[in-house]
Structure formats: structure tokens, C-alpha cells
Amino acid sequence: MSGEAVLSVEDLAVRYGPQTVLEGVSFQVPRGSVFALLGRNGSGKSSLVRCALGLQKPARGGVRLFGEDAWAARRRAMGRVGVVPEQPDAPPELTAGELLAFCAPFYPAWNDTSARDRLERYSVPPRVPFGRLSKGQKGAVMLALALAASPELLVLDDPTLGLDAVARRALYDELIGELADRGTTALVTTHDLDGIEPIADRVAVLRGAHLVANETLDALKARFRRIRCGPSAAPFSWEPFEPITAAEKDWGREAVVGNFTEERLGAFRARTVSDNVEVVALSLEEIFLSLAGTAGGLS
């Protein structure tokens, strides 16, 4: 992975009338990385993706794709980008074969053979109009179209939405294969945290129109822990930790902290009367819940 940014989001703001969807969002997607953009429904992930693809003009700030403004240089940039949208958007009347034939002339590095192989692997009927395919088949067609262009950047906007476990697994396998073979950079927005965790290099989390996390997955996982303490009669404090969530239990206390280090744990142990301190590593989903889920509600 080199340090060069394929995609650079700078102070991005998106508004729909009085509603602010994104505000002051900045991050970079380094070349060769798999960048997972996480957030709850309505957190602005798709708006950010649309801005990144030059489909939507932001209210403020901008996105640079391969060093150029994504809005101004969209056409040039799209020749190097493969897109799998949240809702498969291909013309419903065209068959998978017709879609391949339609897209092929636009890309200089189009790989028709691999695309057709992929469609065969996914058992996508070549003569059935796109609109009549199943959700999984539509996703497969969109992925085949995106990968056939031999893109430098792959943008996947919630690609597993609505897919069953088998289709989800197949999609990730395909993605892993592609990434391993060509070192393609990927920007993935998803709610499937278990699926993305094994392949993501970097993670960014959107909450309340703002970016609340943006770092490598390793770093993120290293600083998040769940800490449990047994009952203690003495006055208690979580210092030097800064708990994101904290709760009193009948067996003691529990907190999720976002600034975990071994040094802080040592200091905490030294200050805590109870000997019964348990430290548990968190999965990406648990970290995401602690970061994005504290506001409560369903949306």
C-alpha cells in the first residue's frame, strides 16, 4: 500500500434543503487500501459516494479523484473507477450480455472474458432482461460490470444490501480475489461489518453528519476495549480511560473505552481496589455500535 491518495474528501458538506447530511467531512483513501465507510442508515454514506463519483455537487468542499476534482473531471475519472451502487441501476430492459456490450466501448482496459466468466460463475442468465433478475443476480451483474473495466478504484455502496448469506459470501470472495490479484483500491460502504472486517484496511465512521472515526482497522481495534470490574466499596473512577459507554451491573461495572493502552490499563489496575478486572477485545461491529449507536432509535 503506497501513501498516495486515490480519493481525497475535503471539508465536504451536503445539504438537502434545511437538512444537513454531511458537514466538514475529510478523509483520504490511500492507493491499494480497502476503505470501509460505516454509518447508520441516513448517516450520509450514499451522499458521500455520489459526491465522490461526481454525480452530485456538494454544498461545500469537494472530492478529489486521482488528484482531480470529482465533479469537474468526472468523465475522465470514471474511466478508472468501477461502481457497484446500492440499488442496481442498469437499464432494466437490457440483458446482462447487452449491458456488457453497451459498457465495453467506454473502457480501454475492458475485460470481456472475465466478465462473462463471472456471470457464468454466478449463474446469471445472459438473455434475461436485467429488470427480471433476482437481487443477487443484479448485484452480480453490477459487480461484473465494475470489475470488467479493470478499475483502479472500486466503489461499492452497500453491495450486500438485501443479499442472502451465500450471495454475500460469494461477493466478498470475488472482491478478495480481485483485490489480491490487482491490488485495486476499494471504497466500501456497508452494514455488513462481519463481512468487511476481514478485508478492510481502514475504517471511517459517520455519525450525525460528521466523521467520528477515520483510521486503520488495526489501530481502531487496538484502542477499543470492553473493561469489566468486580464490585468495589471504594470510590470508583474509570480514569485514565475515557469510557464511551459505561454501566453499573449487579456483578460490578462495565465500560467500553476508546483510548485503551497497556500503560493505561496498568495505571487503572493500580488505582482500582478490585482485583477482578477483565479486558475484552471488540469486534468491528461492537466498535461501530459504540461509536454510531449511542444516539439510539432505529434510524
Partner: protein, 629 residues
């Protein structure tokens, strides 16, 4: 370019059922001709083909236009195209090229059976249809995109659309009332209008895709901004253009067209004239004071032949009820049958005081068609209609009296105004006759003053006082003395060309007979003869000064047309004016003879249609046309 063609191909491919449906329906219409019994199969086939020709392409244009981009926009599929290395311009061009191919293809499929069954509409009409369909497709796209964006801006669009329609109606009405409504629909203007509208809507679609891309609302803003900006420009241009079209002046008139009518006294003249260098082909009727040059423009369709008072101080004509939309409806008779029942008005022009003033009055007789005569003080007018003649009080438009008289050549109020003299060819028997008839409106009494057997090619050539001159066709010319009822026939062997005649102020009669102009007494005795060379005909006779006869001689060669001025008492030639002919000659010479020495008697037409007067001192004064500038 390949991207444009690729998208166009995709659009055509996904909607190919439209072409198939058009072809199938065309075949159905065509097959009906063979299947149905002879006699009505052709009519039914043609009717079906006509309905198909009109309805299917229109439906196809609306369907294609509303789904071309609008459906992708509504279903969030535009992002598919914008996620490819495709420019907005290529997407726009490809989409609308595909749409145009579909619409044009559907049209041609539908038109073929019509053309093959011999009801073709011509290349120009085909081109206009195609332009209209492309415009309709672009219009459907615009409405569809505005509606499908889900933006509140659509309400503003609807309001602005209503305002636009109102403004255009006002503009067209303005043109229509002035008699220039047709300029919007001329073969030159209509394709231009359609092309401008289609181009504006297509430009708006381009702005929508370039500025909005996959963002429906942002695209809507661009679409609306472009549409309404261009609409504002178009309305302003239409207003300026209308002003320019209607601003035609007599000074621009290249040549005077028929009709040209001149008051027997005074200096008023009424003529139709087209500007030499265009103004969209608008040819108004000018009512002009020849001495001062002041004028008013009149809508040609609302001017019929006027009747002037003897002193030329007023003119009256029947102004047919022509609605302003008459010009812009394909068949007003079919669409607006009610309009036919609308009554004509009476137009009254006050003359002789600079710019003529025209007012319209109600007219009671429902079938009035033509003003025949005005009484001396301009209070009453005699109008003819389909069922007879009516005497109408001008101030109130009320019917004073009526008589079931038809086929009237001319009518005059007799001195005192109590009776009217008619010159008519009644169709009440097998024998064709020319009759002079006096009618007293007060008691309805009719007295026949003279009756002359004629053949169908009869013409009233001149009338003045108690004398009238008639060309009776192959039976020669005749002088009718309405006091005694005596008829003097002259040279029954003359040719069948109507020729010309004039009753001179001295009581003599000048008339063309064969290859001469003869001046005779009321008894037909020759006073003087003026030979006319072969291949020259007598165009008109005038009395530009008392006792002087002007003989207009017409030849095929423009250079040899001339007017010869002679002493009416002796036939001695005084002078010749090359290239000029007496003006204001109406077919059949039904107008009142100009007074000797009047403006009308001195008015002449040049070879290019220009009007000049010959002043008493011999100078020529340009009135209208090239020489007047």
C-alpha cells in the same frame, strides 16, 4: 461519437416495440383495403390510415419524450450512465438521437400507407410534422422531468407555464386582430417556430443533464431555469418581431396590389400592399389620405369593398367577423362553427381630415356581405347580402328597409336620397338581361327604368347621371338612357373583350370599340375617334380635367404601356405619359366614376405598381411605392 451512437442504439433497441407497433398498424390499415368490400374499403383504409398518421406518432412522441430521461431520473437509473466515462453531452445527444429516430421512424411507418393510398402531404408538410414531433418529444421530456423530480418547483413551473401561454395568446391575438396571425404559420415561419421551440427544449434538456447529472432536483432547477429564460427571450423576441411585422408603412410597399380603391372625390385611397423586403409576408390594407400621406392599417380579412360618399368624406364597408384565432386553427369551419354565425360589423371611416379614423358599428342584417352605396350625407348605407339588399342606418346599425334583389353590379343613391338606383342582371328567367331599377325604400316601390338583353358575359362599364354603358358580351356595347329607357347599341360586331367606357362631364360618352376609342353623343353619334394599334387594349378611361380624356393603353410589354391624353371634344392628342396607366380600376368598373380633376382621376399606376398623381401643372407626385421613397 461512438458513445452517442451506443446510447442511441440502446434507446432504439429498448423501445423497438414502438416501431413494430407502428408497422403493424400500418399493415393493418393497408390490409383492410384488400379485405373489405370494394367501395368502402378504400375510404375506411384511408380513414384508418389518417387516424393512425395523426394519432400514433403523437402518442409515440409523448411516450418516448416522457420516458427518455424522466423514467431513469425517477427510478434513480441516471447514475448508471454518469458512473461511466460518458459526458453529459454524449448522454443527451444519444438519448435524444435515439428518441428522434424512434419518433421519426414511427411517423414514417404511419405515413407510408397514407402516401401509398395517394393521400400524401408533400415534403414540406412531412418536414413540418417531423419537426413538430421532435418538439413534442422534447416538450414531453420537459414536463415529465419537472413532474418526476418531486420538487415543489413544479408548482412554479405550472404557474409560469400558464403565464407563458397567456402572453403568447395575447401576442397571437394582437397579430390576429391586425390581420397578421397567419405570419406565424406561413410555410417559412412555421418550421422556424417549431425548430426554435424544439431547440429551446432540447437545450434545456442538455442543461438539465450537464448541471444536474443524476441529481433530479438540481437537474430540475437547470431545466426550469433554461426553459423559462429561453421562454422569456422568445416572448420578448416575439413581441419585438410582432411590432416589426405590424409596423409596415406605405413607404415600404414595393407595389400596390389589388384591390386599389380610390374615393371619387377627395384624396382617400384604400389598397393592399406588401413590403418590398418582407416583414414576414404581412400585407395589410392601407386606408390612406393621398394628399397628406397619413394612413391607417387594416386587417385584410376584415375589409371588403368600401362605398364612398360622393364627396369622399366617408367610406363604409362590411367588416366580416373574423376571430383572431381564425389564423391559427387548422380548420376554423370545423372547430368553431359558432364563429360563422357571428355577425359582421359595419366599419365607418371618416376621411378628409388627415389620418383616417375608423370606427366599427353593429350591423343588424345577419347576412350582410358588401357595402354598395352611401347616401350623400353619409347617414345611410346600402348593403347586399345573400337574401337581398338592406338599407342600414349607420349610427345605429339598424335595418331601415330591405328588398329581395340579387346580382347587383352597382347602386347609387339618387339626388335627394329618397330612392336608390340598381344596376343588376336578374336571374329570374331564361333570357339574360341587364336591368336598371329604381327602388324607393320608404314604400318599397320598384320601377324598372331600362332592360337590355345581354349574353352571360355582361359588364357594367360606366355610369353617371342618367347614362350607363354596358358591355353585353358578343352583342356589343350599349348606352342606356335611364330617363327614357332608350338603349343605343354600338358595333354589335365588336370583340368580346369588355373594354372600357366613361361618361364625360360634358355628357359625351367615351368607349373602346374594336381598334379605336370612340367619343359619341348619348345617341351614339361619333364625335371623335382615336385609333388603337393592334395588340394594344384600352385599359381604362379617365377625365383628369374637365373636357380632357385620358386613355390608358395596355400592352404585354411594360415599356409600351402608356396613357394618351386627348381633347375630348375633338380627339386631338395633347400628350402621352409612358409607363403609366390610370389607377383604381376594378374588374367590371363598378365604382363610381371619379370626378373630373379629382385626386382619383389624376392617380396613375407605374409599371412596378407604384402610385403617382399627375398634378395640374404637369408634375408627377409619388404617392406609394418605389418612387415615393
Amino acid at each position: 461519437m461512438s458513445a452517442v451512437l451506443g446510447i442511441a442504439r440502446q434507446e432504439v433497441s429498448t423501445r423497438r416495440f414502438l416501431l413494430a407497433a407502428a408497422a403493424a398498424l400500418s399493415l393493418l390499415a393497408w390490409a383492410l383495403r384488400a379485405v373489405l368490400p370494394p367501395g368502402w374499403s378504400r375510404e375506411l383504409g384511408q380513414s384508418l390510415a389518417l387516424v393512425l398518421f395523426l394519432a400514433f406518432p403523437i402518442a409515440a412522441a409523448i411516450a418516448v419524450g416522457s420516458s427518455l430521461v424522466g423514467r431513469d431520473l425517477a427510478e434513480g437509473r441516471l447514475s448508471f450512465y454518469f458512473s461511466r466515462p460518458l459526458s453529459a453531452g454524449a448522454l443527451w445527444a444519444g438519448k435524444f438521437l435515439g428518441g428522434t429516430i424512434l419518433v421519426a421512424g414511427a411517423f414514417l411507418c404511419c405515413y407510408l400507407p397514407l402516401a401509398l393510398s395517394g393521400v400524401g402531404i408533400g415534403r414540406e408538410a412531412v418536414a413540418i410534422w417531423l419537426l413538430a414531433l421532435v418538439g413534442l418529444m422534447a416538450f414531453a421530456h420537459t414536463i415529465s422531468s419537472m413532474y418526476r423530480s418531486g420538487s415543489r418547483l413544479f408548482a412554479l413551473d405550472l404557474s409560469l407555464g400558464a403565464v407563458l401561454v397567456t402572453v403568447i395568446v395575447v401576442q397571437v391575438r394582437h397579430l390576429g386582430i391586425a390581420g397578421a396571425g397567419h405570419v406565424l404559420l406561413t410555410t417559412a415561419a412555421l418550421p422556424f417556430d417549431l425548430a426554435v421551440a424544439a431547440a429551446a427544449l432540447l437545450a434545456a434538456a442538455a442543461a438539465q443533464l450537464a448541471y444536474g447529472r443524476a441529481d433530479a432536483r438540481r437537474g430540475h432547477v437547470a431545466l426550469s431555469a433554461t426553459v423559462w429564460t429561453l421562454a422569456l427571450v422568445a416572448v420578448a423576441a416575439l413581441a419585438l418581431w410582432s411590432r416589426w411585422v405590424l409596423g409596415v408603412t406605405p413607404a415600404e410597399v414595393g407595389g400596390v396590389r389589388h384591390p386599389l380603391l380610390v374615393a371619387p372625390s377627395g384624396s382617400a385611397l384604400l389598397f393592399k400592399g406588401a413590403p418590398e423586403h418582407g416583414r414576414a409576408g404581412f400585407s395589410p390594407v392601407f386606408l390612406m389620405d393621398g394628399e397628406s400621406g397619413s394612413y391607417v392599417r387594416l386587417a385584410p380579412e376584415r375589409v371588403t369593398f368600401p362605398a364612398f360618399t360622393a364627396d369622399g368624406s366617408a367610406a363604409v364597408w362590411v367588416a366580416p367577423a373574423v376571430s383572431w384565432w381564425w389564423y391559427v386553427t387548422p380548420d376554423p369551419g370545423l372547430l368553431f362553427r359558432g364563429a360563422e354565425a357571428r355577425r359582421a360589423a359595419l366599419a365607418v371611416a371618416r376621411l378628409g381630415h388627415g389620418t383616417p379614423v375608423v370606427e366599427e358599428r353593429a350591423l343588424e342584417p345577419p347576412d350582410a356581405e358588401l357595402a354598395l352605396a352611401l347616401d350623400g350625407d353619409g347617414q345611410r348605407v346600402l348593403v347586399s347580402g345573400r337574401s337581398g339588399v338592406s338599407l342600414v342606418d349607420i349610427a345605429s346599425g339598424r335595418l331601415v328597409a330591405e328588398a329581395p334583389l340579387s346580382n347587383i353590379w352597382a347602386a347609387d343613391f339618387l339626388p335627394g336620397g329618397a330612392a336608390v338606383r340598381f344596376y343588376q342582371t336578374p336571374r329570374d328567367g331564361s333570357e339574360h338581361a341587364f336591368v336598371v331599377l329604381d327602388w324607393t325604400p320608404k314604400d318599397g316601390k320598384r320601377v324598372e327604368r331600362a332592360r337590355v338583353p345581354v349574353d352571360p358575359r355582361v359588364f357594367l362599364l360606366a355610369r353617371r347621371g342618367d347614362l350607363a354603358v354596358v358591355s353585353t358580351g358578343m352583342r356589343g356595347k350599349a348606352i342606356i338612357d335611364t330617363t327614357s329607357g332608350a338603349v343605343r347599341r354600338l358595333d354589335s360586331a365588336t370583340d368580346d373583350v369588355p373594354g372600357a367606357a366613361l361618361v364625360l362631364s360634358t355628357g359625351l360618352v367615351a368607349l373602346s370599340l374594336g381598334e379605336e376609342v370612340r367619343i359619341v353623343t348619348r345617341d351614339g353619334d361619333a364625335v371623335a375617334r382615336l385609333p388603337v394599334e393592334p395588340r394594344t387594349s384600352v385599359y381604362a378611361l379617365r377625365e383628369p380635367a374637365p373636357g380632357e380624356l385620358a386613355v390608358g393603353l395596355w400592352t404585354l410589354s411594360l415599356d409600351r404601356r402608356r396613357t394618351v391624353f386627348v381633347d375630348a371634344a375633338t380627339g386631338t392628342v395633347r400628350r402621352v405619359e409612358q409607363g403609366l396607366l390610370p389607377a383604381g380600376v376594378r374588374y367590371g368598373a363598378m365604382d363610381t366614376q371619379p370626378q373630373p380633376g379629382s385626386f382619383a382621376s389624376r392617380l396613375f399606376t407605374g409599371s412596378r405598381g407604384e402610385l403617382v398623381t399627375l398634378e395640374p401643372d404637369g408634375r408627377k407626385r409619388a404617392i406609394v411605392g418605389v418612387a415615393a421613397r
